[in-house]
Amino acid sequence: MNLALKDIRHGLFRFVLTCFGLGLLMTVVLAMIGIYNGLVADALAVVKAPAAEVWVVEAGTKGPFAEASSIPADSRDTVARMPGVAEAGAINYQTVEAPFLDRALRLYVIGYETGRPGGPQIIAEGRGIGTSHFELVADRKTGLVLGDTIRLGRNRFSVVGLVEGAMNSGGDPAVYMTLADAMALQTELAPADQRVQAARGAGAVKSASVAAVIVRVTPGADVDLLTATLRQWKHLAALSQTEQENILLASVVDKARRQIGLFLGILLAVSAVVIALIIYTMTMEKLKQIATLKLIGAPDRTIIGLIVQQSLILGTAGWGIGLVLILLVKDVFPRRVVLEPFNVAVLAGIIVVVCLAASGLGVRAALKVDPATALGG
């Protein structure tokens, strides 16, 4: 006769309610883990997108994602001619806000040279950017669809392709356009005084600058040697892909990541306390019945089984409900919620440990209870 199950069935409504409450808490925990992962994955998306090996950026800067980086557009030719370089492409980044239908779209504009590295790797729908002007490949999260046109600066751009998961570290969805279009857009959107300067010809050099040149090396080439050589130019600096990713994580999203990480820690601690409290109270409420069991001769095994089984059932149910709920709602979040099976398994592990620890407390109290207390009233 399984006492744990019989007792659960006896107070089924309350037990289910408790499981559901715990499930909601687990949903929050899983959401937080997913948001944390999503933040990191999104932050890296923009760096990973071009599938580059080396980033050539302005000397003394940490690249276009950490701060402003501006190098002459013709640096690309210089870089492309270096030994070990298979392909090189100039790339340009800017954030613009543009009215679309009845709302303002915040877009992260990536300008790249067609036929060179820097463009989208996989087109989900439509085609890549052709040779003509004013074409866009947009991330789905922009809400744009194939054939839409949107006014950016002085020109209307039409959407010819859609991609997924392209955004900057702030979560603004990306649009790709040709480098030429992007540079023209940058000039148009520059503050008025700069435009005046540019009209006088003073800003001409500046307007012909790009954020970075990205490099794919030839197979077997020495990346370290290449970056070392690039750094010898006094106006250029070079970062390997790994360095670029680390900079992004360490400086750009570091605070946000630590913020969420700390909150996640607190949330886990709170959950552990809540689970422990539920299980402990559940046991305390049964002390008299446990005394009766002892009185009629039930061994410790029976009593421990009752408590431990119930707490594990509770923990597992809470975890399962949490998992189902988060899978149902995760796509509703405005930014990506990324759940790895590993995270979910670790959470299960934590829950089991907390349940066992809490039932340990309950078991201690239960084993201490005097069977004579069953006799009083």
């Binding site: 019989k6 009185l295 009629i296 001769g297 029976t302 006799l375």
Partner: protein, 230 residues
């Protein structure tokens, strides 16, 4: 009724609670022998030590000193002589409480068969015995019902069935009829007597209920922790 072997042998048992200023001598040098088949009432004013004595015989309370022998087995002599007191209770002792103390999440039948389950009976055998006992106590029609839905008398009879299920030879009852009307109380006592005779058990019952005094073989009086045999 044939009087058989000594089932309960309490020798010079004393029990005090607390120490110094707060010391209460609940039992002072109590000697008591109960034989198989005997049905005994334990009487005495409130606070005279009745429950204390019953709990000591039931091995759920440590005596301060003395010796306790149950069914020929010495179980206490200055200290407990057995480590598996619960197993001893399961096999030899049946408790009937004033409050029936049935487990609320089990049906009447399950409350009875649980004891047999714990004693290692095969599940079907246990269920059979439970139904048989409930039938005997005329509550088998309530077998699938949870305790919350039983009347006081029904619950008490289920509790008796549970106490008797594993055929213990020592049945201890603390005011088992307090919650019943006098007719029911007499019926329950008759039933206990009959079962005791059949199972060669002894019954030790604490009671204040004068209406059932004629159902006992012996009345034992406790006063200030001492026995005064009548």
């Amino acid at each position: 009724m044939a009087i058989g072997d000594i089932l309960v042998d309490v020798q010079a048992v004393a029990k005090h609670y607390g120490d110094g200023e707060t010391r209460v001598d609940a039992l002072r040098q109590v000697d008591l022998q109960v034989r198989a088949g005997e049905v005994i009432a334990l009487l005495g004013p409130s606070g005279s030590g009745k429950t204390t004595l019953l709990n000591i015989i039931g091995c759920i309370l440590d005596p301060s000193s003395g010796r306790v022998v149950l069914d020929g087995d010495p179980v206490f002599d200055g200290k407990w002589l057995r480590s598996d007191l619960r197993r001893l209770r399961l096999d030899k002792i049946g408790f009937i409480f004033q409050a029936h103390n049935l487990l609320p999440f089990l049906t009447a039948a399950e409350n009875v068969s649980l004891v047999l389950d714990l004693a290692g009976w095969a599940p079907e055998k246990g269920r059979e015995r439970a139904v048989e006992l409930l039938d005997y106590l005329e509550v088998s029609h309530r077998a699938p019902v949870k305790p919350a839905l039983l009347s006081g008398g029904e619950a008490q009879r289920v509790a008796i069935a549970r106490a008797l299920a594993n055929r213990p030879r020592i049945i201890l009852a603390d005011e088992p009829t307090a919650a019943l009307d006098s007719k029911r109380a007499q019926l329950v006592m008759d039933l206990l007597r009959k079962l005791a005779a059949e199972q060669e058990a002894c019954i030790l019952t604490v009671t204040h209920d004068e209406k059932i005094f004629d159902r006992f073989d012996r009345l034992i009086h406790l006063r200030d922790g001492r026995l005064t045999d009548d």
